[in-house]
């Protein structure tokens, strides 16, 4: 039997009387790029927040590599192999770009406060993290920014830095929340090519929330469509493009 990398089953998220996600089930296979689309408020980011344990689903299970994510603490998800980016950039503005990426490897490093104070093991670990961060920055053509603060740089650059930071935790699964938002046409094409390359290089599985249809249709293997917290369709990009319920949800007409 085929086992999915990420298995979302009957997930329901309720905030008081508002149902943000309802009976949501879908699978993401290893090495797939899966796009999560839908109008604003459909529950896409809510699902990301469930996977990265910002929220706990009211009901349902989320299994990753056959481990139950909903029982993990938020900080355990990174070492389990899941990384994410945020819709609104969530870099640390007072750290340099390089330090931001080094921070991404927190789950891959171990020197705690006591050893740090005594200076035991810090130097070699820092060297390793710095080298790794530099090569990730180089991979995303960001090496010129390494020593700049991660604030006040162009939007597209910040988005790429966030991707570099998420890769530093050596993830199996990468969750990207609207990576193309605010990018120019040229940048979107570049990003799509970059993501395709990163998937091969780091053997990644990618789930992305995206409104940019060109990007979605261009790089996804699988598309899941949400509307008002429910899954209304799923399939290959070509199938989704001619699905009438999807068209209705986007254009607001009755089926």
């Amino acid at each position: 039997m085929r086992v999915a990398l990420l298995e979302v089953r009957d997930v329901r998220v309720q905030f008081g009387g508002i149902v943000a996600l309802d009976e949501l089930s879908f699978d993401v296979d290893t090495h797939q790029v899966c796009a999560l689309i839908g109008p604003n408020g459909a529950g896409k980011t809510t699902l990301f927040n469930c996977v990265s344990r910002v929220y706990t689903p009211t009901r349902g299970t989320i299994r990753f590599l056959e481990r139950e994510l909903t029982r993990m603490e938020p900080h355990e998800v990174a070492s389990a192999g899941v990384a994410r980016t945020f819709q609104n950039i969530a870099l640390f503005p007072k750290l340099s770009v390089l330090e931001n990426v080094m921070c991404g490897a927190h789950s891959q490093s171990s020197v705690g406060p006591i050893r740090a104070m005594l200076g035991l093991g810090t130097a070699s670990e820092e060297r390793r993290l710095r080298d790794q961060a530099r090569s990730l920055l180089a991979r995303l053509s960001l090496e010129t920014y390494a020593d700049r603060l991660a604030a006040g740089l162009p939007y597209g650059t910040l988005k790429r830095i966030e991707i570099a930071r998420s890769l530093a935790s050596a993830p199996r699964l990468l969750l990207l929340d609207e990576p193309a938002a605010g990018l120019t046409h040229g940048e979107v094409d570049e990003l799509a090519a970059t993501l395709r390359g990163l998937r091969e290089e780091f053997d990644l599985t990618i789930v992305l929330v995206e409104h940019h249809m060109g990007m979605v249709m261009g790089i996804s293997d699988h598309v899941v469509v949400l509307d008002l917290g429910r899954k209304i369709a799923e399939g290959t990009p070509a199938e989704i493009a001619r699905n009438e319920r999807v068209i209705a949800a986007y254009l607001g007409t009755e089926v």
């Binding site: 344990r53 990174a78 994410r84 750290l95 921070c103 927190h106 406060p113 740090a116 005594l118 700049r148």
Partner: protein, 339 residues
């Protein structure tokens, strides 16, 4: 370039250290008191900076942790006849536990609310001391005066007088605490402190255990304050917890951190010296009207914060950045259009 700057700051640090080591030879006994005060003040400010500067948790209650250290040392010396130095590990252990105990409730509080609660710690502490420590104090009060630490024979070469010897003890402990703090903020844990301060959700998805980092920061900073308190017994010859004094100290520690420059290694130390000598300076301006001193000191603080909003070290860094930009370094990468 970066390594040249590193060597420059190392050289400056060595010069400052040499001067601080020379201070007891240069100044007489009474003039040495503020220099000793500035040393233990620096240690408390260093610790508070780890919590408030790097980790973003504001505390106006560290005067209480300072008191915990002072009383632990004073009681052990006075009633258990301990030497001074062996009390330090006990002080650190006690403060780590007490600090962590306050760090847990602090997990649920942020910003002004946390400041308010920690202010409560400072308000509560003198009452607690009066309730429990008065059986150790002189004449039923909470004032404890343990035997003074005297200069041993072997130190006569550099410290003939007892206060000189005590100053050197403070200096050594201070340098050790500074190195420990500098090491702490340099690596993974230091980045985690800042990450938690600036974006908790992002830090958590990167694998940072928010609760552990925050409680850890609280405990470590409490230990710094307690070591400072312990050393204050060395200087003042007593442990005391006046209501106003605990408040005043709590606030002055925070002032030292902010004036020197939050989230910098040298900032709180510089700030501590400014606070201690600024108050002396304020007293000297109007000798005949000592009641004006706090007002003069207040004006000094206002002016400093107006001129250097990100502290002395922050202002210095901006100056360096401006100079190196006009030095003909490559221009900053130009912004590409975002849309």
């Amino acid at each position: 370039m970066a390594s040249r700057r590193k060597w420059t700051s190392f050289a400056v640090a060595m010069l400052v250290l040499a001067w601080l080591a020379y201070v007891p030879q240069f100044y007489g006994q009474s003039e040495l008191v503020p220099w000793s005060e500035a040393l233990y003040f620096s240690i408390a400010a260093l610790g508070l900076n780890l919590l408030t500067g790097y980790n973003g948790q504001i505390s106006i209650g560290h005067g209480a942790f300072f008191g915990v250290g002072a009383y632990t040392t004073a009681i052990l010396m006075e009633h258990n006849a301990w030497q001074f130095l062996p009390t330090l590990p006990i002080v650190i252990a006690v403060a780590l536990v007490v600090g962590a105990a306050f760090g847990f409730p602090a997990l649920r509080l942020k910003g002004l609310y946390l400041a308010l609660i920690t202010l409560g710690i400072a308000a509560l502490f003198p009452d607690l001391v009066n309730r429990f420590a008065s059986k150790y104090g002189t004449a039923g009060t909470s004032l404890i005066q343990p035997p003074r630490v005297l200069a041993p024979e072997w130190a006569s070469g550099f410290a003939e007088a007892d206060d000189q010897y005590r100053y050197y003890m403070l200096l050594v402990v201070g340098v050790v605490m500074l190195i420990l703090a500098a090491n702490l903020v340099r690596g993974r844990f230091g980045r985690a402190l800042v990450a938690v301060r600036d974006h908790e959700a992002a830090a958590s998805t990167l694998g940072v255990n928010i609760a552990r980092v925050k409680v850890g920061a609280f405990a470590i900073s409490a230990a710094y304050a307690a070591v400072a308190g312990s050393l204050s017994v060395l200087v003042n010859g007593s442990a005391n917890a006046g209501k106003i004094e605990v408040f005043r100290q709590s606030i002055l520690f925070l002032v030292a951190v902010v004036i020197g420059g939050t989230a910098t290694v040298a900032g709180p130390v510089i700030g501590a010296y400014v606070v201690v000598f600024g108050q002396d300076f304020a007293k000297d301006i109007f000798d005949d009207k000592p009641e004006l001193a706090p007002a003069v000191f207040g004006v000094l603080l206002v002016v400093l914060m107006y001129v250097l909003p990100d502290g002395i070290v922050g202002g210095w860094r901006r100056l360096i950045a401006r100079r190196s930009r006009s030095d003909g370094l490559p221009p900053l990468p130009s912004a590409s259009p975002a849309h």
